[in-house]
C-alpha cells in the first residue's frame, strides 16, 4: 500500500449526498480479474452518456480539474454495497483523498486497506472547500501528520483520525505491510529452515 503523508492536489467538488458505491463504480465493471484499470468505470454514469460520449459538464471531465487528487463530496459518501472496487477505482483514477461530512462505514474501512484517505470535516468547512474549489485556484493541501486541510485561500481545517489508522497510513501499512514489519523474523525463520530442511530449497 502507498503511504499517505502529505498531498497537494487539485480538488474536484462533487456536491451530491449519498453517493453509493454503485455510482462510484457500476456493476458491469466488477467482472474484472484486475484491481487496476477500474478508472474507466469510475462515476461512469456521470461521466458518459448512453452513447458512451463524455458529458462535458461533469466536474471530472472539465479540463480545469484534470489530474484532480482530492474529491470534495456531500454527506454519506460510499454507501451501498461493500465492493472494494470503489476505493480501487478512485485510486486508479488518481484520487488519493475524499473529503466529506460523513462516510459509510464499510467504505471508510476499505479506504484504509487501500491507501485512500477519507477526511471528515464539519459541514461549513466542506461547504467552504466546495466553494473555493469552484474558483480559479483549486489546489488544496492535505497533511496527515498534522491532521490538517489547507484550502486554496489558506484557511486551515483540522480533522480527527484514529491514531492506529493514522500511523499505518503514514507508513503505508496494510495487513501485508504489517506482517512485512516482521520481515527480519521471516528471514531468520527461512535461514533456519533452509539448514534443517534443505530438501525444500530450490525445488
Amino acid at each position: 500500500m502507498e503511504a499517505f503523508t502529505r498531498l497537494d492536489a487539485k480538488a474536484a467538488p462533487l456536491p451530491l449526498a449519498n453517493i453509493d458505491t454503485d455510482q462510484i463504480i457500476p456493476k458491469q465493471f466488477l467482472k474484472t480479474v484486475e484491481r487496476a484499470g477500474l478508472a474507466k468505470g469510475l462515476f461512469y454514469e456521470y461521466r458518459f452518456d448512453q452513447q458512451g460520449r463524455e458529458i462535458p459538464d461533469f466536474v471530472l471531465n472539465q479540463p480545469a480539474y484534470k489530474g484532480a487528487g482530492v474529491l470534495v463530496a456531500g454527506d454519506n459518501f460510499g454507501c451501498g454495497s461493500s465492493r472494494e472496487h470503489a476505493p480501487w477505482a478512485l485510486m486508479d483514477f488518481g484520487i488519493r483523498c475524499v473529503i466529506s461530512t460523513s462516510f459509510a462505514d464499510i467504505f471508510y474501512n476499505n479506504c484504509f486497506q487501500n491507501g485512500l484517505l477519507p477526511v471528515v470535516l464539519k459541514a461549513e468547512e466542506v461547504q467552504q472547500l466546495m466553494d473555493e474549489a469552484r474558483g480559479g485556484n483549486h489546489v488544496v493541501s492535505v497533511d496527515l501528520e498534522t491532521q490538517t486541510v489547507t484550502s486554496p485561500s489558506g484557511a486551515v481545517f483540522t480533522f480527527e483520525i484514529d491514531p492506529k489508522r493514522k500511523a499505518k497510513m503514514l507508513k503505508g501499512l496494510d495487513a501485508i505491510g504489517e506482517t512485512l514489519e516482521a520481515a527480519p523474523a521471516i528471514d531468520t525463520y527461512e535461514m533456519k529452515r533452509a539448514l534443517a530442511q534443505p530438501w525444500l530449497e530450490g525445488a
Binding site: V33, R35, A36, T179, L180, A182, Y189, W199, L200, A203
Partner: protein, 477 residues
C-alpha cells in the same frame, strides 16, 4: 521441574511454524502455496498495485483446474468457450510468467485438480503448512501436514510474505477403530463422521484422525477422509505420517532424494501425537458398524445408510432442522420413508478432489468389470462420467486398462479437472437431474442450477450407474 504436557500432532506443526506473534495472532510460515485460476487474479493485481514481489515463487505451484473443460484440452486455453473462464485462465498464465511461478497449464500431463497434483508430485509432505485458495485444501492433511483453504486477500498475503496470520484452533480427535465391512471405505467413514458431528461440529477445531481403521487406509483413502473434513466445519484434518505415507512419497518428483531422503524421514517421524497429549474433544467410531453411506439432502450431514430410508422432517429435534429437512426433501424430490435405493439417477459423476485418484478409479472399474462379466452396462438413459483427477492419474488408469473397462461398460472417459464438482465449467447438471456423485458438496445448485446431488463413494457411484438408481454396492461386488 514438572513434566511438560504432551503435544498433539497439530501443536507440533503449529509450533514449528510460528515466526512471530503480533496482536494476539501468530504469523505462521507457509511451506507450500498452491494456486489456481479462480481465487488469484485480484491477489496478483494487489501485488502489482503495491509493487510487491512474490516472496517465494519456488514454494508456490499453479494449476488450472476449476474452469477447464474436460475435453479438447490439447487445443489450449484459447479454445475455452466461456469468455470469463478463458480470461481467468489467461490471467493465471500471465501472472505465473511475470512472477516466475511454476505452472502446469491445461493440457500438461501433470496438470489436474490442485489437491490431486500436490500429493502426486510429492510437493505435499509431512509436517508442512500448506494453503490454497480452495476450502478442500484440507485434503493434504492426509500426510500429516497442516493444510487449509484461504481467501483471496490471504492469497495475496501469502504471496507477498510466505506467511499467514492465524489464531490457533482447538484439538479434536476422531478415532475410527476396527475393521470395516467389504465395500465400505474412506468416503463412508467421512460421511459417517459428518453425520455424527454435524456440518458445524468441527468449527474452531483441527481434527486428527486416528485409530486402526484409519491406519489401515491407503494414502488415497486418507486424502478422501481429510478432504471432507471441511464439510464437518473443521478447517483442517490430519493423519499422522507412517510407513504408508513414506512409501507413497518415495520417488515422487519433488520428494527428497539420496541423503536428503534419510534426513527428511527422520524429521517427518517427529510428527505424531504424544501419548499424554490432551484433546479438547474426542469421539470414537466403530468401523464395523459403518454401512455404505449416501446423502439424501442438501447438506453433507444429511446422511443415511444405503439400506435406510429417507428420514421424516418430524424426526429432527429443532424447528429449524425440521424446516430445512422439509425444504431439502422438496428440493431433492424425495419423500419421507422412501427407501433411498428407490432414487433413480440421471447422471453419475466419478471425480473431484475427493475421489478421482487411481485407487478411486480402480474401485469403480472393479464394479464396472463385474457388471460387464454379467452382461450388464450403464443403465439405459443414465449419463455416467469418469473424470480422472490429473493427467497422470488418467495415464496410469489407461496403462492399467481401466479406461477400456469404463468405456466398454458405457461410461464416458474424460480429461482431468474439477468438472461436475462445482458447475463452473461445461460439466453441469440441468434442472431436476439427479446425480450420484463422488464429490464433496450436495448444496442446492452446486452441480448446476436445481441439480440434485447424492454424495457417495466411487464404488457406490459405479453401482448406481449400472442399477440406474442408488444401489448397495455389496450387491455388485
Amino acid at each position: 521441574m514438572p513434566p511438560m504436557p504432551g503435544k498433539t500432532l497439530y501443536d507440533k506443526i503449529w509450533d514449528a511454524h510460528v515466526v512471530a506473534e503480533q496482536d494476539g495472532e501468530a504469523i505462521l510460515y507457509i511451506d507450500l502455496h498452491l494456486i489456481h485460476e479462480v481465487t488469484t487474479p485480484q491477489a496478483f493485481a494487489g501485488l502489482r498495485a503495491n509493487r510487491r514481489p512474490v516472496r517465494r515463487p519456488d514454494r508456490t505451484l499453479a494449476v488450472a483446474d476449476h474452469n477447464v473443460p474436460t475435453e479438447g484440452q490439447e487445443l489450449g486455453v484459447d479454445a475455452v468457450a466461456d469468455e470469463e473462464a478463458r480470461l481467468q485462465l489467461q490471467t493465471l498464465g500471465k501472472n505465473v510468467a511475470d512472477y516466475g511461478i511454476e505452472f502446469f497449464p491445461m493440457g500438461d500431463i501433470r496438470n489436474g485438480i490442485v489437491h490431486v497434483v500436490g500429493p502426486e508430485q510429492g510437493r505435499t509432505q509431512p509436517g508442512m503448512t500448506i494453503v490454497c485458495g480452495d476450502s478442500h485444501t484440507s485434503t493434504h492433511g492426509a500426510f500429516g501436514a497442516l493444510a487449509h483453504g484461504i481467501g483471496t486477500s490471504e492469497v495475496e498475503h501469502v504471496l507477498a510474505t510466505q506467511t499467514l496470520r492465524q489464531k490457533k484452533a482447538k484439538n479434536f480427535r476422531v478415532r475410527i477403530e476396527g475393521e470395516p465391512a467389504p465395500g465400505v471405505g474412506a468416503k463412508d467413514f467421512a460421511l459417517a463422521v459428518i453425520g455424527e458431528i454435524g456440518t458445524a461440529g468441527g468449527t474452531g477445531y483441527v481434527i486428527e484422525y486416528a485409530g486402526s481403521a484409519v491406519r489401515a487406509l491407503s494414502m488415497e483413502g486418507r486424502m478422501t477422509l481429510c478432504n471432507l473434513t471441511i464439510e464437518g466445519g473443521a478447517r483442517a484434518g490430519l493423519v499422522a505420517p507412517d510407513e504408508t505415507t513414506f512409501e507413497y512419497l518415495k520417488g515422487r518428483p519433488a520428494s527428497p532424494k539420496g541423503g536428503a531422503w534419510e534426513m527428511a524421514l527422520s524429521y517427518w517421524k517427529t510428527f505424531f501425537t504424544d501419548e499424554d497429549a490432551a484433546f479438547d474433544r474426542e469421539i470414537v467410531l466403530d468401523a464395523a458398524k459403518i454401512a455404505p453411506t449416501v446423502t439424501w439432502g442438501t447438506s453433507p450431514e444429511d446422511v443415511v445408510a444405503v439400506t435406510g430410508v429417507v428420514p421424516s422432517p418430524d424426526s429432527f429435534a429443532t424447528p429449524d432442522k425440521r424446516a430445512s429437512a422439509a425444504r431439502a426433501l422438496q428440493y431433492m424430490g424425495l419423500s419421507a420413508g422412501q427407501p433411498i435405493t428407490e432414487a433413480t439417477v440421471d447422471v453419475v459423476f466419478i471425480g473431484s478432489c475427493t475421489n478421482s485418484r487411481i485407487e478411486d478409479l480402480r474401485s469403480a472399474a472393479k464394479i464396472a468389470a463385474k457388471a460387464l462379466e454379467g452382461g450388464r452396462k450403464v443403465a439405459e438413459g443414465v449419463r455416467a462420467m469418469v473424470v480422472p483427477g490429473s493427467g497422470l492419474v488418467r495415464a496410469q488408469a489407461e496403462e492399467e486398462g481401466l479406461d477400456e473397462i469404463f468405456k466398454a461398460a458405457g461410461f464416458e472417459w474424460r480429461e482431468p479437472g474439477c468438472s461436475m464438482c462445482l458447475g463452473m465449467n461445461p460439466d453441469k447438471l440441468t434442472p431436476g437431474q439427479r446425480c450420484a456423485s463422488t464429490s464433496n458438496r450436495n448444496f442446492e445448485g452446486r452441480q448446476g442450477r436445481d441439480g440434485r446431488t447424492h454424495l457417495m463413494s466411487p464404488a457406490m457411484a459405479a453401482a448406481a450407474a449400472i442399477a440406474g438408481h442408488i444401489a448397495d454396492v455389496r450387491d455388485y461386488l
